[in-house]
């Protein structure tokens, strides 16, 4: 089992529904977020191109945050999901510094928090909140070990990329381009 997510930049409109759905689903305090939207523009008027991406933790196969965590709070869970055990976290912030994607934040309650791929939902057969809410259905989620999963199929069919591949973390958040 290897969970992965793919975001179709051709369909994403950058509405931030993924952000607010994650915040309400996971009771992320106002002012913080586990996912966010990045928009880039290339060219000069009127020869222009935009790319819109919904970004979050990349659930890397080779995750620097897990490696550097002194207490073992950051760990790999089933399907390669990278999680933080809040009760083991001492809030030292080493993982925040080590993450090339700036995907983690210090929760006001003293631990570090980030995207969990909505592990509590996928356990009961639901999709992550961001996937379920997206009005453009631009986020695909599933098991890469299953050749017929949504995410496997779309990655086979479409040109895609990952962010900062040179960091060598083997990210599992793909962007369809």
């Amino acid at each position: 089992m290897r969970y992965a997510m793919a975001v179709d930049t051709k369909k994403c409109v950058g509405c931030s529904d993924c952000v607010v759905a994650c915040q309400t689903e996971n009771s992320v305090p106002i002012g913080f977020c586990r996912d966010w939207v990045v928009e880039t523009t290339d060219g000069t008027y009127p020869q222009l191109q935009t790319e819109i991406r919904s970004e979050r933790c990349n659930h890397c196969v080779n995750a620097p945050c897990v490696r550097c965590c002194p207490t073992g709070a950051s760990h790999y869970a089933e399907g390669g999901i990278v999680l933080v055990a809040h009760d083991k976290c001492i809030g030292c912030g080493a993982c925040i510094a080590s993450c090339p994607y700036d995907a983690r934040y210090a929760h006001p309650k003293g631990y570090v928090d980030k995207c969990t791929f909505c592990e509590h939902r996928i356990k009961v057969g639901m999709s992550p909140a961001c996937v379920a809410v997206c009005p453009t259905k631009c986020i695909y989620f599933g098991d890469l070990d299953d050749a017929n999963s949504n995410v496997s199929v779309v990655l086979k069919k479409r040109k895609h990329k990952t962010l900062i591949p040179e960091a060598g973390t083997n990210p599992q958040l793909y962007f369809l381009i």
Binding site: C15, S16, V20, T24, I30, C33, Y45, H107, T136
Partner: protein, 745 residues
């Protein structure tokens, strides 16, 4: 009290001592308890609602935590408006409930030590005061001197009340400030409006043409979803916009048009489609009238002619016209929604309607489908008195084709200098922040100074509340029943809204407010049900359902009466126009003294150093009504002004710098606005998102954040056909330093 109203924004007397429910204090603080992994309970109670954050009214479910707090709102899978997916505003609707700055109790304007302030009042006192003032105005000037300005779900109840009072002056800014020109243009052409939600069959289209419509930045939910489906299916999207909008970024063709020249482009497209015979000949022959006149009319409107006006290259005009022709009839030239731009808007949308007719898209798969609406049984009430005078008697002959009361006419009728046919002396304003909705704020305020009564119903202390004599605090949609939603769509359907929580503080649902007021006015018979839910149950039982059933399903879809979503081959269709045909040439317009075919008329251009002010939407906000919502301000807390890099360089303006905007009438924005230097906007225009720059301090999160486009829209280009207020004829320049002025706190 002094006769002039002052805008009250200091504080409400005693507001600080109001009790706030304990659950709310916790929820509006920064920290809320996270839901622990594995905590998800499948048996969580879910409560049906339909959204009130915008007019799309998507149906959803409210989920609560085990402690009973409102947790999240999720779309209803059965709902055609959202297909189980709410937009960011709907998802963030929880913030409307949890907003600590909400209005909490009725307030009455009073004077203390020479200063106008609000004092708290009981509902009984506030409603008694409103009732007595309404009676005074009605007996002194006649019931027509009472006007209702309204928006949203509460409208039905206040409309009932005002009709019972004997006035027909019931106006929605969604007409003259938004959709009016579109609906009247479609009426004139097809004998039918474009409806809400629009009848665009985007999911099956092969070509979607957007003219200033920014789907994706407007989150008109199922349209956004269907545009995404259309992208998947390889449909061609053509976007006409001076700004590289989100939709432009998804388009095969982007036409970066010079603002205010759209009609020239539309005429050139019509020319190409007719003279290259791209149009649907059978359809036009069978259903349309006036083709020959149209053909003659557009003879000289070549792509080369349009190029000189629009700056769009002739080749691109030709290519896109051909693309539409190839896709015909599965093509949509989108009717638009907010279309009050330049004062010739009805004519512009007429050109859009004509294009759709030529391409045979009306009534066809992938074009504009035939909507179906469920008819909810009406509760019998006594007959309404026929108004002796209507809004049409204010300035006889003005806006002859207007199909609904014109807000701005009612405002003009409140200013004695205008010598109206009768004065409008009392305003009842429900759910619309007129100060940020109606252009030319000084005029609105002048009208307010001449009123005997201004009552405002809202959930938030919007700017308009600062001018009110009496403020009636409504509870949010999450705390109330409302009338069944029965909007037109592909299938007839109904949706239920019921309370997910008790009204916070001393707020009340709209139905209760309207009914109590009716009773005090001796009009209780018009509200036969004490409780709205009993009325809903009566209505639902009449149609073989029940409140109990709807509580479990939230939404109920019905089959169409016939399989008639699209015209069938060879179907004889009788259109509701005078001729029974689709009128390419509008005899109706001609009889009313207007051009029967759209013409391009040049508009004023910006002076040296000025830029056309264009405004639009952000996907996470609805006008100004969401700008204090904690969940949504978290996504976007201020607007920015988009400036082309060449312009920014000439002015020495840097990215993220705060500047003030000054318009052609020397009006300077109250607050500074952040600069976004971007290639995505033309050099002759600037762009900003509407609804920011709030001047009302009680809205702590949004006060002073960004600039208000409405404040800068002092010049109004009124559509002579139907009274729409064109708002894109204003020009701004930049002020980089400003002294002695209040800046954002």
């Amino acid at each position: 009290m002094s006769s002039r109203r002052e805008f009250i924004r200091i504080s409400f007397i005693g507001a600080g001592v109001l009790a706030v429910a304990p659950g709310v204090l916790k929820a509006t603080g920064v920290i809320t308890d996270p839901v622990k992994a594995g905590d998800l309970k499948v048996d969580l109670k879910r409560i049906p609602t339909y959204c009130e954050v915008c007019f799309w009214k998507c149906a959803g479910w409210v989920y609560k935590t085990s402690e009973g707090n409102i947790w999240k709102i999720i779309g209803n899978d059965e709902d055609q408006h959202c297909n189980g997916r709410l937009c960011p505003r709907g998802t963030g609707g929880v913030g409307m409930y949890y907003d600590a700055d909400r209005l909490k109790t009725p307030l009455i304007r009073t004077e203390e030590r020479g200063m106008q302030v609000f004092r708290e009042a009981s509902w009984d006192e506030a409603l008694n005061l409103v009732a007595s003032k309404i009676k005074d105005i009605s007996s002194k000037y006649g019931p027509e001197s009472l006007a209702l300005f309204t928006h949203g779900s509460g409208s039905a109840y206040y409309t009932n009340l005002f009709k019972a009072l004997g006035t027909g002056n019931i106006a929605e800014p969604s007409y003259a400030q938004c959709r009016g020109p579109r609906d009247d243009a479609f009426f004139a052409t097809f004998g039918e409006e474009a409806y809400s939600p629009e009848i665009t069959d985007i999911r099956d289209t092969r070509c979607l043409v957007l003219i200033g419509s920014h789907i994706g930045e407007n989150m008109h939910n199922n349209q956004v979803q269907e545009m995404s489906d259309a992208i998947d299916k390889g449909a061609t999207i053509i976007t006409v916009d001076p700004r590289f909008s989100t939709a432009a970024g998804k388009s095969k063709f982007w036409l970066p048009i010079k603002p205010a020249t759209d009609i020239a482009l539309l005429l050139a497209w019509i020319h190409e489609i007719i003279y290259n015979e791209y149009y649907d000949k059978k359809y036009v022959e069978k259903y349309c009238s006036g083709f020959d006149q149209l053909k003659t009319h557009v003879k000289d409107f070549t792509p080369e002619w349009a190029y000189g006006i629009t700056t769009i290259k002739p080749d691109l005009i030709r290519k896109t016209a051909k693309e539409m022709g190839n896709a015909s009839p599965a093509v949509i030239v989108h009717p638009g929604r907010h279309v009050t731009w330049y004062g010739d808007d009805t004519q512009r949308v007429r050109a859009i309607a004509i294009l759709n007719a030529l391409l045979g898209s009306w009534g066809r798969r992938g074009g504009l489908y035939r909507p179906a609406k469920f008819t909810v049984p009406i509760v019998p009430v006594p007959a309404y008195k026929e108004p002796v005078k209507t809004w049409q008697d204010i300035f006889p002959g003005k806006y002859p084709i207007a199909s609904a009361p014109v807000t701005n006419l009612l405002i003009e009728a409140s200013i004695p200098d205008n010598k109206p046919g009768f004065p409008v002396k009392g305003w009842f304003v429900n759910g619309t922040n007129l100060i940020l909705t109606i252009p030319n704020q000084a005029n609105t305020i002048k009208a307010i100074q001449n009123l005997d009564l201004l009552v405002v119903v809202d959930t938030m202390p919007m700017e308009i509340t600062g001018w009110a004599d009496v403020i009636l605090p409504e509870c949010t949609y999450l705390e109330r029943y409302d009338a069944l939603r029965a909007s037109p769509h592909r299938r007839p359907s109904i949706a239920l809204r019921m309370p997910a929580a008790e009204p916070l503080n001393n707020t009340k649902p709209g139905y209760w407010i309207a009914r109590e007021l009716a009773i005090k006015l001796g009009l209780g018979d018009y509200f036969p049900y004490e409780k709205l839910e009993d009325m809903l149950d009566w209505q639902l039982k009449k149609i073989g359902s029940s409140l109990e059933e709807m509580k479990r399903s939230g939404v109920k879809n019905f089959p169409r009466d016939a399989d008639d979503l699209y015209f069938t081959e060879e179907e004889a269709v009788e259109f509701s126009t005078d001729s029974g045909k689709i009128e390419l040439y509008s005899a109706f317009f001609e009889q009313s003294g207007f051009d029967p075919l759209p013409k391009y008329v040049p508009h004023e251009e910006p002076a040296e150093g000025f830029y056309r002010l264009i405004y639009g939407r952000a996907p996470m906000h609805t006008f100004s009504r969401t700008s204090n919502n904690p969940n949504l301000t978290d996504l976007m807390h201020e607007n920015s002004v988009w400036i082309n890099p060449r312009v920014a360089k000439a002015w020495g303006i840097k990215q993220d710098q705060y500047i003030w905007l000054k318009n052609q009438d020397n009006v300077v924005s109250d607050f500074p606005v952040k600069v976004r230097v971007t290639e995505r906007i033309r050099w002759d225009s600037v762009y900003m998102v509407h609804g920011f720059g709030h001047a009302q301090k009680q809205m702590k999160r949004c006060f002073g954040k960004g600039a208000s486009d409405t404040q800068l829209i002092t010049k109004v280009l009124t559509d002579p056909i139907m009274g729409g207020t064109g708002m894109r004829g204003n020009f701004v320049t930049f002020i980089t330093e400003k002294t002695g002025t209040e800046v954002a706190s």
